[in-house]
Symmetry: C2
Subunit: 241 residues, 2 copies
């Protein structure tokens, strides 16, 4: 669970919900700063989602766990469609926002604390770069085995990320080189969000190939990739038979 | 003169001129981050300036020095009105932008390097918070005496700043307290601009009262203050008779 000081992302969404403003500054661990789409991005209705997200969400069925549910845009859409959805987020402010917006099951909970106590799920969604919550290969394997134990046989994981190699921006190519030099996967992107005096812990992103490597031996396999624009993609994972 | 790595502000304006995008992240020295109006702010035409700026610029006459000319919005306006304008800026990229936009006299030069070699001026403008370039009281006195020696008898300084006390934002009030504790003027605001991997040196802002204290004994006095919104103001300084 994030402390008040770490809840930059959630506080920005909270301020956006209550006052209509807010912003999102992205800091990479090489000192590269940029401005994100802002909290309004996390509130956009289904009709305005990118096509690959609309296609991906059609794979959701049964009882759904939304990992890193943010302002609840995916969870609320599925709930409105009649599915039972449980949203979890490490951000207390995000969960406040979800509840305020009408999400019936929303808990402040780290992905590392999920268990069968939440019940059995048919779908786990990790949208909006949340595949990166799988973290490093070791943690990813541990989490995916855990997901296996708390899902039905026909379960799917619908996870979104962004391929960091789809870029020609010199600063991004430099960053890949910087990663190689420190012995990391070149595209492993370490970022955090700043909002006023708040700053989140670091997050990771990775590419489709890196994902394929990470999930080997976890009992999950890639059913399909759904590609979006600018390197965005959704992976649909199913259980190995 | 700013190094390439420090020229965050200028590079953002340069990118805006050439590609139509860019952003401006403001970092305060207590770790408070915000997003500025962005480089487009520095290109807006006279008709869209805030009212207090339009009123202030009417005080410009004769030969004009624009200190910290940025993308040249004030200098170009005055040049179009037939005044002779010399723009200086510490940012090489800003001066490139000014030249590209048609400013005839534009030099990469720190305010601390101005001298009579630039000729004699009837007006010195320091718009858009550039009064803060006067820096601390000691530097301000030294600079204002220097300005006195390179201006005509009837000269005016038209300088803009923002009163840091006009706020009820808790983070800003906390900052005033933070300043008191470290023995500074409460409203003395230490900020820098980040853009991608570039980061400027620190800048200062101060209030009208602080300005009045600072200019005592420099041979300049406040003729009038022109107030804008949200604590923005322009000071018109004239020579003490």
């Amino acid at each position: 669970m994030l402390t008040r000081q770490q809840d930059a992302f959630g506080q920005a969404m909270y301020d956006y919900l209550h006052r209509g403003d807010g912003f999102e500054i992205i800091e990479r661990d090489d000192g590269f700063f940029s401005v994100g789409g802002g909290p309004q991005t996390y509130f956009i209705p289904h009709g305005q989602w990118p096509a690959h997200q609309r296609e991906a969400i059609r794979h959701a069925r049964g009882r759904v766990l939304d990992v890193g549910c943010g302002a609840g845009r995916h969870a609320l859409y599925l709930q409105e469609r009649g599915l039972e959805v449980v949203g979890i987020d490490i951000s207390p402010r995000a969960i406040e926002v979800c509840k305020r917006r009408g999400l019936r099951h929303a808990h402040v909970l780290s992905v590392t604390r999920v268990s069968r106590r939440l019940g059995i799920f048919d779908t786990i969604i990790m949208m909006g770069n949340n595949l990166g919550l799988l973290g490093n290969p070791k943690r990813a394997r541990w989490l995916l085995r855990r997901f296996r134990a708390m899902t039905s046989c026909e379960a799917r994981i619908i996870g979104e990320s962004r391929d960091p190699y789809v870029t020609e921006t010199p600063e991004h190519l430099e960053y890949h080189e910087f990663n190689r030099k420190r012995g990391r996967l070149p595209g492993q992107l370490r970022i955090r969000v700043r909002y006023k005096k708040l700053v989140t812990p670091w997050y990771l992103l990775f590419s489709q190939d890196e994902l394929k490597g990470i999930i080997q031996g976890t009992g999950w396999e890639v059913e399909t990739f759904i590609d979006g624009e600018a390197g965005m993609y959704v992976a649909i994972l199913r259980k190995v038979a």
